[in-house]
Every structure is written in structure tokens, then in C-alpha cells.
Symmetry: C2
Subunit: 669 residues, 2 copies
């Protein structure tokens, strides 16, 4: 009989997460999909999302095959296998998430007809499916490869596979969603003066598809990468040995612990999903409180459970403190994002007020809010690094990242709920449901916007910590002496400059891609308004599919240059004579620092502009239709690629480059 070993908790937790996801999906599909019109809208969005994903997969498969061959030749076939499975698992999680999300949008709207609590249930369950698929497949993959090979360095291949898919999903999805969104807004809202989500707008479905491929598949792949990346980094560092107070810990203990922490987090997340409940006629505050109960509940459960876990397995509470530092930093970053992007607080209001003197002051004000919002997250991350390292060295930093991401099953559920509620509100609007239902759907959507903003902050923070952990693992593996990594060593300085510059360049390329995609969509929407008679009178249906296919091809074409930048540069810098592995180290550090700052600025400025517009739309400062409102719409539009394309893509950039550096270490030594 096989004796039970703690490590077996990991695949068990993974299987349980997937089973729970299956159960939730079953429950969702049993809900009514609403009226025929709602079903049709939902179906169009579903098909649009599948068109995009299938075309994207084609690109991914070609890429994956090439990289797998290179890995098999340059590294070894095990790593190549792990890479392929990592890519497949990440794509699978994203695919299931999008499928369920697009099946849930109309069902959420239909459920909201019965009560707002039921609407929340359906929308949140859909988010939980995504959350569970990501953590389930993530931990399964890592633990299987650990079981097969026992060497964490091979599992880096799994992480690199996940990173690669994340790149395509985040960058491609981000370009898609904002090309469609901006294209729809620039003609629809500004030129034709029809409201958001108006079915007469030919780009409206593409916009809704974008919410799914960007915010569901993109966000999911991003956090899948962080999740497995942090676990793998901790395992790689653990493999080279960890000492606390001069005592060397058991190698297996420290290698296995990250997986056990992740498994514990999954159990806590599943339990916490049951905390998310509201009664009938709940307001925004109650809805918000319900979701918070889930997020904070899972974190508290995790803090308690991991205390005992660490106490009974490794026996050193220093590791617990390191984990706790990461867990708390994640919450602080999320709350800070909420403060800077919520209507209720002064930053957003100051943007709304400065819109009174026109779009220019609106832009400047939003931009400065974004920049100021870097203060708290940087202090949180800095403190987490210092504390975690103080207790357990570099391993501590990786454990802090694992801690921050341990309850991902729950945080991602709350996060993915956002775009589902957004779609549900759109469907309620487009299918002409009654006033009450639309109000409910809008309330669900408003709460979703907040969770999405918090989720974005969390994604950024976890990406930075994960990238740092991977960076630490890279440094350990490549074996450069500390004095060569001094910030006075010119290759390191040059590396810092190059890394920082890459994040700016990457941002610019993704922004420009959105600009190009949007202008193609604009031309198409104008063309349809001009050539299809009767659209405005609702007598003729616009050609939604055309806008979908234009956004798709724009996204896929324009994602190549930034993708190439992210993959080629670390390898090139590591190999170029005057630079080499220490410059690569500097480059990673520079990219992580600058990337984190830029990502926070872009995400929070974008979120704040969005909500400043909503603040005015609620009837303040002249309300809808005023000059002030027009100014705020411009800020919101500028913020679109900031918060949904360039900002989130930076998460991928810093992790992918660190992962590539770690993976290709054999080339550099």
C-alpha cells in the first residue's frame, strides 16, 4: 500500500478544484438562458470569442512547435515536454473560462430578473469556474512534472509554456478588446451619438467579445503564469538549499512546501466561495461586501491554515512570516487600487472636477493620479521583499509571491465576475429588458468594475513579486558572484537602462497596435453606417462579424513585434559579448522596477478616468451631455489601452523575460 505523503495533497487539491469547476459549470448551464433575443446575443458573443481564440491558437501552435523543438535541442526533451504541456494547460484554462463566461452572461441577466442575489450567484460562479480551472490545472501540472522528474529546473519549461500563452492571450486579447472598444466608441458614442452597448453599432458585439478574450482569457492566462511561476521559482531556489539561522532545511521539504501552500490555498478558496451570498434587493454596498467576504475570508483562512501547515511540515515559522508578508502586500495593493479608482474617493473626484476646464486638464489630472498611485504599492512590495528576505533569504521572496497568489482561486473568481457582469448588463440593455432588470444588471456591473480594478492591482503586484522570485532563481542558477551584479558594474547599469527602456518600448508598441486596430474598426463602422441603409432606424442589422474579424486580424498581426521583443531580448542580451549574464540580471531588475511603476500608473490612471466619467454621468458637474462630460469621455478613451492593453501586458513582459532568462541559463554558462 502506498503511504500517504503530504506532497500528494497537491494533485488532490488540483483535482478537487477541477471537480468543483465542473460542478459549478453544471449549475450554471441549468439556469435559464433567457429570451430568444438574449440567447441570440449571447450566442453571437460566444461565436465571436471562439473565432478569435481559434485563430489565436493557430498562431500559438506554430509558435509552440518551434519553441518546443528549440528547447529539445538546446536544453532537453523533458523541458520541451513540460513547455508543451504548460502551454496547453494555460490555453485550456483560458478556453474553458471564456466558454463558461460567454454561456453565463445571458444567464446572469436572466437570473437578475428573478433577484439580484441570483444574478450575483450566476456571475460569480462563472468567475469561480475560471479561478478553479487556473489553480487546478496549474498545481496539477507542476505536481505531475515534479513526480515525473523531481527536478524543478525542468518544471521551468512548464512555466515558460504558460508564459508564452499568457503573452499571446494578454497582448493579443488586449489589442483586440481595445481596438473594438475604442472603434465602437469613437464612431458610435462620439460621431453618431448613440449610447454604449447600442445594438445599432456594428462594433458592439466585437466589444463584448473583447471583454471575454481580454478580461477573461487574458487575465486568466496572466495569473496562471504568475501562479505557476511563483511556485516554480520557490522550488528552484529551494532545490539549491535554504538555511534559516545557520541551519540547513531539508531539501525535499523546501521544494515541496510551495506546492503544499498552493494546495492549502485551493481548499481555502473553495470554502470561501460559499461566503459570497446576498439576499434579495441588495444594493451595491451589500454586493460589494459579499465579494469582499469571499476575498478576505479566503485570505484569513489561508493565514490560519498555512500557519499549521508550516509548523507541522518544515517547523520554521520564519517561512510563515514570509508568506504572510506576501499575502498582506497583495491585499494592500488591491485596496490601494480601489482607493485610486473609485468614485467615492478624492482622486477620481479631482479628475472629474478638472474636466471642467476641458480634456487637457482631465488628461493631466488623470495621469498624475496614476503616477501618485505608485506610492503605496511600492512601499508594500518593498516591505514584503525586505521582510521576506530578512526571515528566509531569497527563498523568502519566492514564498511571499506564493503567499500572495495562494488564494488565487478566489481572487480570480471575484475578478472574472467583472467582465461577465459587464456582458450581462450589455445584453440586458441590447435585448430591451425592463427598467428594473437593467438597473439590477447595472448594479452588478458597477460592483464588477470595482473587483476588476482591484484584480488588476493584484495581478500587477503578483506579477512583480513573481518576476522577482524568478529573477532570484535565475541569479542562483546562473551562479554570478554578487560583486559582478553590483550596480556600479557597467554591464549591470547598461542592463538596468535597457530593461527600463524595454518596458517603455513595449508599452508604446501595444498602444500603437490598439490605435491601428481601432482606426480599422472606425473605418468599418463608418462604412456600414454609410452603405447599409436602415441601421439607424433599427430596420437593418449591422454586420457584426465583419468587425469581429477585423479586430481579430488586427490583434494577431500587431502582437508579433512586442512578442518578439519579449522573447528575443533576454536571450540576446545574455549572449552579446559586452553585456552577458550580468547585464541580463540588470535588465531583469530594470524591467521589473520600471514595468511595475508603469503598469500601476497605466492601470490606475485608466480606472480613474473611467470612473471620473461615471461620476459625472451620475448627474454631477453638469451630467451627461455637458462639455465636462465630453472632456471626461476623452480621458476614458485614452485610458482604455492604458488599463486594458499596455498596462496588463507589462505583467507578462516582466515575467516572461525572467522565465526566459531562467530557462536559457544553460546557454549563458
Amino acid at each position: 500500500m502506498v503511504e500517504f505523503e503530504p506532497v500528494m495533497l497537491a494533485p488532490i487539491a488540483g483535482a478537487l478544484a477541477l471537480a468543483f469547476a465542473g460542478y459549478l459549470t453544471f449549475k450554471i448551464l441549468r439556469q435559464s438562458p433567457g429570451t430568444p433575443q438574449m440567447r441570440e446575443l449571447s450566442g453571437t458573443i460566444y461565436r465571436g470569442a471562439m473565432i478569435f481564440l481559434n485563430k489565436e491558437y493557430l498562431v500559438m501552435v506554430v509558435y509552440a512547435v518551434i519553441v518546443a523543438i528549440i528547447l529539445a535541442l538546446v536544453v532537453n526533451y523533458q523541458t520541451a515536454t513540460a513547455f508543451t504541456v504548460g502551454a496547453f494547460f494555460s490555453a485550456l484554462a483560458g478556453n474553458v473560462g471564456v466558454r463558461v463566461a460567454t454561456k453565463s452572461n445571458a444567464r446572469t441577466a436572466a437570473a437578475a430578473k428573478r433577484s439580484i442575489g441570483r444574478g450575483l450567484m450566476v456571475g460569480f460562479s462563472s468567475g469561480a469556474v475560471m479561478g478553479m480551472c487556473v489553480v487546478g490545472l496549474g498545481i496539477l501540472g507542476v505536481s505531475i512534472f515534479y513526480y515525473l522528474f523531481g527536478d524543478p529546473q525542468i518544471i521551468v519549461g512548464f512555466g515558460f509554456g504558460a508564459s508564452s500563452i499568457a503573452l499571446f492571450a494578454r497582448v493579443g486579447g488586449g489589442i483586440y478588446t481595445k481596438s473594438a472598444d475604442m472603434g465602437a466608441d469613437l464612431v458610435g458614442k462620439i460621431e453618431a451619438r448613440i449610447p454604449e452597448d447600442d445594438p445599432r453599432n456594428p462594433a458592439v458585439i466585437a466589444d463584448n467579445v473583447g471583454d471575454n478574450v481580454g478580461d477573461v482569457a487574458g487575465m486568466g492566462a496572466d495569473l496562471f503564469e504568475s501562479y505557476v511561476g511563483s511556485i516554480i521559482a520557490a522550488m528552484v531556489i529551494g532545490f539549491t538549499g535554504v538555511t534559516i539561522g545557520g541551519v540547513a532545511l531539508g531539501q525535499t521539504d523546501v521544494v515541496v512546501l510551495p506546492m503544499l501552500l498552493a494546495a492549502t490555498g485551493i481548499f481555502c478558496s473553495i470554502v470561501a466561495t460559499f461566503f459570497v451570498r446576498v439576499g434579495k434587493g441588495a444594493g451595491i454596498k451589500t454586493l460589494h461586501a459579499a465579494l469582499n467576504k469571499g476575498v478576505f475570508g479566503s485570505a484569513i483562512l489561508m493565514a490560519i491554515a498555512s500557519f499549521f501547515l508550516i509548523w507541522y511540515t518544515v517547523g520554521y515559522l520564519e517561512i510563515f512570516y514570509a508568506m504572510l508578508a506576501g499575502l498582506i502586500a497583495g491585499i494592500v495593493i488591491g485596496l490601494s487600487a480601489e482607493y485610486y479608482t473609485e468614485n467615492r474617493f478624492s482622486p477620481v473626484q479631482s479628475i472629474a472636477y478638472s474636466s471642467q476646464t476641458g480634456p487637457a486638464t482631465n488628461i493631466i489630472s488623470g495621469f498624475s493620479v496614476g503616477m501618485i498611485s505608485t506610492l503605496v504599492p511600492i512601499i508594500a512590495i518593498g516591505a514584503a521583499i525586505l521582510l521576506a528576505h530578512h526571515f528566509v533569504g531569497l527563498y523568502g521572496i519566492a514564498i511571499a509571491a506564493v503567499g500572495m497568489l495562494s488564494t488565487l482561486g478566489m481572487t480570480l473568481a471575484a475578478d472574472t465576475y467583472g467582465p461577465v457582469a459587464d456582458n450581462a448588463a450589455g445584453i440586458a440593455e441590447m435585448s430591451g429588458m425592463g427598467q428594473t432588470v437593467r438597473k439590477r444588471a447595472e448594479r452588478l456591473d458597477a460592483v464588477g468594475n470595482t473587483t476588476a480594478a482591484i484584480g488588476k492591482g493584484f495581478a500587477i503586484g503578483s506579477a512583480a513579486l513573481t518576476a522577482l522570485a524568478l529573477f532570484a532563481a535565475y541569479i542562483q542558477r546562473v551562479g554570478i558572484t554578487p560583486e559582478k551584479l553590483s550596480i556600479t558594474n557597467p554591464p549591470v547599469i547598461a542592463g538596468l537602462f535597457i530593461g527600463g527602456m524595454l518596458t517603455f518600448l513595449f508599452c508604446a508598441l501595444t498602444m500603437r497596435a490598439v490605435g491601428r486596430g481601432a482606426s480599422l474598426v472606425v473605418s468599418e463602422v463608418r462604412r456600414q453606417f454609410r452603405t447599409i441603409p436602415g441601421i439607424m432606424e433599427r430596420k437593418a442589422k449591422p454586420d457584426y462579424d465583419k468587425c469581429i474579424s477585423i479586430s481579430t486580424s488586427a490583434a494577431l498581426r500587431n502582437m508579433a513585434p512586442p512578442a518578439a521583443l519579449a522573447i528575443v531580448t533576454p536571450i540576446a542580451v545574455g549572449l552579446i559579448p559586452f553585456l552577458g549574464p550580468e547585464a541580463l540580471g540588470g535588465m531583469l531588475a530594470g524591467a521589473i522596477v520600471t514595468g511595475l511603476l508603469l503598469a500601476i500608473t497605466l492601470a490606475n490612471a485608466g480606472g480613474a478616468w473611467d470612473n471620473a466619467k461615471k461620476y459625472i454621468e451620475e448627474g454631477r458637474l453638469g451630467g451627461k451631455g455637458s462639455e465636462t462630460h465630453a472632456a471626461s469621455v476623452i480621458g476614458d478613451t485614452v485610458g482604455d489601452p492604458f488599463k486594458d492593453t499596455s498596462g496588463p501586458s507589462l505583467n507578462i513582459l516582466i515575467k516572461l523575460m525572467s522565465m526566459a532568462a531562467l530557462l536559457f541559463v544553460p546557454l549563458f554558462i
Copy 2:
């Protein structure tokens, strides 16, 4: 009899530069100041500038006294003396520069009436006065204190004095100029629809004053700081010893060499001013070529002269290569700024085209141009660092900075010419000079805009290299071992994050200050339009002085928080237990990297938006009055604080923090 020693070249060059400045001033004042109306306008601008400067001096004196006392207590009285003189010299150079500039604007316009070549002569001479005062006072100060004390560390006090004044001049001047400019534009151009530089606008004189206190005094103080900072850094590093190929160079040789290089640069600059000549009826290209002949001519002369200087004094051409690397990097950065901000090239044109879909796409496009424009300067600086260090170690990096700044007398002349020509065009417009003269003045202004953009790029590049040199000097003085400065050491990582974050915060604070100042000016202009009858019909004169005093007090009040941030943070980080001197090192590195990237982005985005607007105003894409033009005006307004307040202020931040770190080393060890 005293034997002639090479080091005496330094004060001689300084005295010569000042004498040459005196001669040029004499020549300018002999020119006709134009019609009574022109004299009156020029006089109002002059008085406005003096009001601002005098109030600013009050703040500076209080600050300087407090810091001098602290320095005398904490460091020593010699350093306190050097600090006071440094502050005084910097303020003096700025004051003379502004006085001459405000005496030259009407004279430039009047001279342009005779011929465009004479207009260029007067405007450029005014710029040359500023250039010569800066380099003359700079080298005099450094060489006098070297003669008095012989210890470079004491001369750091002189640099810190210059840094402090630069902070007030750049930040205060930057807030002033853009509060007035944006305030004037937001009401004048957008609400009242009167043209730029229209005398009916109550804020128009404040705007012209701003050009002088921001672009003349601010820019001058910025480069004064870079100039003395680079020389001092090289001397400090030289003092601790320099070896080339295992051979130790003579201490005095390497300490004195930076001053000799600077002296040589002054001679070359004076000669090169005579290259700037054009015939009658010269077009923009010819004007541009004349200025370029001066800038490139001085660089080529410097390359030749310094080759012989280094060959005959130190004898190691490795130092020459390091200097050359800096000189070339400076030119590359300037040319790159020209490419990204000039009408003739595709980046600006792409912004103009994207204005066709409204302000939002204009903003996104300009922002991405700014970010992409970091690529070339980063490569140039990175290459200069690697090469300079390859040849002579850390000393080489400082020498590269000295090389880049050696011909500052000339580059600053071309640069200061910009605001003088701008004012001249404004006076030509306001005093209703004939069509021909206004066209000539506009042409002079257009060339000035280009030189200003190049000058901005150069100021940024030299600030980064100077800050790096000071950073290297700090590291040498504080004596931390390289392994403690490893980018894997958590205090260093935390420092990198904090330093990067400070630049974002500093940017946000300065932007916000402009927003606040502008909104006060907006209210005042609106009030005057409302309460002073007959302004619009040109029957009553607006109250210019009121707008001047509002901008002044807004600038002085809002400059405190960013100033405090710049001065207090390095000292605090160096003293806080968990952080300390190695975190301070990381902080400086993080601030230099991120600050450079941000500064380039902001300067070039701002310049590109400005010229995209001008591109459309020249009649393209619908020309003035079209929707496309309106969109481009918004981008231009957003760019104002980007390129003239926040961007340039970052130069000061990174240098001042490095200087403070170097100065307060005794506190940390």
C-alpha cells in the same frame, strides 16, 4: 615669478567667458529697442520676470541660510561656504541671462525689421551671454575652491549650492511658465477664441515672462548644475586614484584634467559662436544650418583640441576615448530628439494624422511616440557608459559627462536663443509690426523651437550622465563593497523601487502644481473678461500684473512639496536602519534609470504634440479651425507641463539626489 601651471587655464577661461559675455551684452544694448510700443511690451515682460525672480530669491535665501548652517554643523564650514557661493553663482548666471534675454526680445524683433540675419545675430548673442555666464561662473567657482582647499569633496558643496538653485529655478520656473501658458490658452484660445500672443489676453504677458523664467533661468540653472556636477564628480573620483592598464596616474593630473577639459571647451565655444552667421533673406533651413554650424563646429574643435590636451598632460589616450564617447552620445541624443519632435519626420506626422479621429487618439499616439523615443538615447548612453568604463573605469564615466558638457557655452547659446526668438515673435505680433517682419520673426521662432527641443534632449542626456558620475563618486566615497551593492541584495532592490517611484511621484506633484496654477489663472482671466469692459474691443487694457502675481505665488507655493521630496528622501533613506547607504545607492540608480526614461518620454511627447499642431496649422489635414486642429490643440496643451515642467524637473531630481548623497556621505559612515 609665478610659473605658469596648466591648471591656471581654468580661471583664465572663466574670466574670458565672462568678458565675452560682457562684450556681447554691450553689443546687444547698442541695438535699437524698437518702437515705444515694443519697448513698453518688453519692459512689462522684464518687470514681470524681475518680480518673479525677486520673490523666488527670497525663498532661496531662507533655504540657503538654513542649509548652510546645517552644512557648517554636520560637515564643515568650508563646504558651507562653497555651498553658498555655488548657490549665489547659479542665481547670478540665471539673473544675468534673464535680464539680457528680456532686453533682447524687442531688439531681436527690431533687428529682424532690417534683415533676418541681424535678427538671428541679436537673438543668438543673447543666448550666448547666458551660455558664457554659465560656463564662466561654473569653472571660476570650481577652480577657485580647488585653489583654496585642494580637496574635491569640499567643492561638492559648490555643486550642491548650484543644485539647490536649479531645483527652485527649474521646478518653480516650470510651474510658473506652464500655469501662465495653459491659463492663457485655456481661456484665450479655447473659450474666447482669440489667437496666441493676443494683447487682449490678460495672461499673455505672464506667458511671455514664463518663457524667460522657465526656459532661460530654469534651463540655465539646470545646465549650470550639470556642468559643475560633472566636473566635480570627475575630480572626486580622480582624487581617490585612477589606474589605466595597471599603471596609477598622477593624482593631481587626473583631478585637474576635468577643469582643463572644461576650459578647452570654453575656448572652442567662443570660437564657434563666430560660425553662426547668415545672409539676408535666409530661410528656416539656412538659419538652422547656421546654428548647427556653431554646435557641431564647437564639438569638432573640442574633439581636436582635447586630443592634444590629453596627449600632452596625462598622456593616456584612453581618457580621450572616454571623453569622445560622451561628446558623441550628447550629439546623438540631441539629433534623436530632433527626429522625434520635428514636422519633417514621420513621428510628428503620425500624431497629426491620428488627430483626425479626435483628441483621444492624438493623446495615445503622442504618448507612444514619446515612449518609443527612449530607444536611441538609452542605447547612446548605455554605449557611452560601457565604452568609457572599458577605457578608464568609473573615472571614464565622469569624463564622458565632462566631454558631453564641455561645449555647453555653445549648446546653451543655441538653446537660450529659442525663448528669446519666441518672445520676439510675440512682441512682433502684439505691437502690430508689418506682415514681413512678423513672418521673419516667426521663422526665427520656428528655428528656436527646434534648437530648444534639441537642447532639451541634451539637457536630459547630460543630466543622466552627470547623475551617474555623481552616483559613482558617492559609491567610491561611501566605500560600500560591491557585493553589498548587488541587485540581489534586498535593500538595493527596495532602493531601486523607491528611486523609480520617486521620479513618478515627483512628476505627478509638478504636473498637479501646474494644473492648480493654471486653474487660478483661468479664473482670473475669466474675471477680467467679465469685469473689465472694453477688453475685447481693445478699448481697455487688461491687468497683466495680476496674472503675473498669481502665477508667481502659485509657483512658489507649489514648489515646496516636490523640493522637499528631492532633498529629504536621499538623506532619510541613507539613515533608516533597514535601508541605509546601500539602499541609497539602489535608490539613486533606480531614480536615474526611470527618471531618464520618463524625462525623454515627456520632453519628446510634448515637443511632438506641439509640432503636430503646427503641422496642421500650416494648412494640412483641414488646417486651423478644423476638428482635427482642435484635437491637436488638446495634445499640445497636455504636452505643455510634460515638456516644460515635469520632464525638465526630473533632470534636477536625479542630479540633486545624487549630489545630496555624495555631500552627506559623512552622515552614513
